[in-house]
Subunit: 347 residues, 2 copies
Amino acid sequence: MAAARVRSGGRPTLEEVAARAGVGRGTASRVINGSPRVSAQTREAVEAAVAELGYVPNRAARALAGNRTDAIALVVPESETRFFAEPYFSDIVRGVGAALADTEMQLLLTLAGNDRERRRLAQYLTAHRVDGVLLVSVHADDPLPDLLEQLGMPSVISGRRHAAETLPSVDSDNFEGARAAVDHFIARGRRSIATITGRLDVYGAQRRLDGYRKAIASAGLDPDERLIAPADFSEESGARAMRELLARRPDVDAVFAASDVMAAGARQVLRESGRRIPDDVALIGFDDSAVARHMDPPLTSVRQPIEEMGRVMAAVLLQEIAQHHEGRTEERPRIVLPTELVIRESS
Amino acid sequence: MAAARVRSGGRPTLEEVAARAGVGRGTASRVINGSPRVSAQTREAVEAAVAELGYVPNRAARALAGNRTDAIALVVPESETRFFAEPYFSDIVRGVGAALADTEMQLLLTLAGNDRERRRLAQYLTAHRVDGVLLVSVHADDPLPDLLEQLGMPSVISGRRHAAETLPSVDSDNFEGARAAVDHFIARGRRSIATITGRLDVYGAQRRLDGYRKAIASAGLDPDERLIAPADFSEESGARAMRELLARRPDVDAVFAASDVMAAGARQVLRESGRRIPDDVALIGFDDSAVARHMDPPLTSVRQPIEEMGRVMAAVLLQEIAQHHEGRTEERPRIVLPTELVIRESS
DNA sequence: ACACTTCTTGGGAGCGCTCCCAAGACTACG
DNA sequence: CGTAGTCTTGGGAGCGCTCCCAAGAAGTGT
């Protein structure tokens, strides 16, 4: 009979469940939404009906009536190929997925290209499309975060745009990660320690440079600016930076690159210059990506807990959404997760 | 005034747009949905009103009234870490995203764990949640594809479950890819050509083995079964397989691994055994992943057009959905995209 | 036994849109 | 100039659910 109904066209509605359980629509709704104001007996009857009919609430109707969507968006800048190249993306998604697993919340994936597109996106996201937004890999002058904030859309950002980030954020400890890398060099007796930075308009890259400087200063080493070579996260830029470094300070005996990919570029140049790793020059990267594990020699690297970042971002967002519904506005969580130096043979 | 309305709580509704344009709700709807049965003049008026009010249709209402969702789901087995390790996932997503970019279609990401969960998932997906489903990395005995098929949910599968796949599918040419790799060995004078296979319950892995066999046979080489070592796509299994190969046929002078990661494992073992690559043993992988590019020496590998697979999958799905709405059922597209041998220094 | 609370419960109203019917405006043709 | 289309157009009905009010049931205190 239940089968007959399913077959006969539509899926069962709340009304049908209620009829089957011999209660009113309102009561059935209460049971399904876990309201406490229902007698145990009634609850059982409704639950039985739900099971028999294989009832699943219609999301659209819920969204329309309840003015919410039970969906959040993960906004990813598709332009950032660098972002996709790393397992970063998959790990974030896995973390977010895990946090959402036993929720009714759906995950919407949005690839936003240029800034114009992102501006339009804000419109769409707020047009009752999602309850909240996860922003990933945002650059300093991205218009989207501010737009979302103005529009009152609960959002969480991975990393930060700058030191005074206003949105709730989840970041890894870039500063301490970099510092740990350089401290490791120092502990092993390296003295001419260089760094290859990422794009410094990315806050995380700046923090890595800060960590490098701090470690150098703390150790009382000579903070030579010629040991700092700017790059842009790409392999090629890493190679170029390494060449500059070698030209300016041929005595360099350690290099901290702000990404594994740049470290790979540097390694190439070091090898071409006849230097051995780690004997002549020690090398450390950042990200602990597949590239690090498979490099020759395997690359020491600073690991970020990406999957956990995803999980925490989702958790924070769910909380923001709940507060938003209740009209409250608490403090903006600004979470920093620890990094870890994974020591391999390059250092 | 428009601003006042927006500020005053809700976003503008169709009704408001209609009022502003001085037309009826039905007419406004027609304009917004691009119906041709509207006079040019009216169309303009409505479009102006839409622009002025910044109107964006309410998805939930649309879905409820129109009995569709304008959303598709990308179902990913989260268990398959192997899947996530590769850039595979990101590339598929990028391709799907590109195909959906100028559509109203939303992309839902669903991480489905075990089979029980996937069974439940079928329920949810069909409960008016999405218009179609993209299945990625499906193993032979996954219950989900059949469930979706029974429930009449438009679906597209990446790869195939077996030769007689019934769902619309988009696959890369594993057979020809493998064959090209082995032909390349043969052209360079290799004679004792081994292969390390993936899990043979994965159709693609089987096809790669078939391609290997075919190439060996076509060249009139001796098809020695001892040159075939089964593995499971993991690096460790690749290393193990390589050891077996070396033990059985120490004269092996070429190895085709069915994945880059397994090739990495094999490389390790070859190096430990004192063999040089490619001088003593040539090596080819599959996937053309970051691992291949950064291996030492850089690994020759068979490239699959992953991003394009994503794009094509989405396109096929959109078509299936359209047919579904019109009640038609055409042929099930079964698309195979070409692979490409990317020659580097390992062969 | 009576007046009050407190629990449960049913069901109307309404969320914003699409579908579709019927009516009005026009055009064409005999 | 009338009649039969053909275009446009307005707006009722209804999608399935949540919210909320009012009413009935049950329990409390005196």
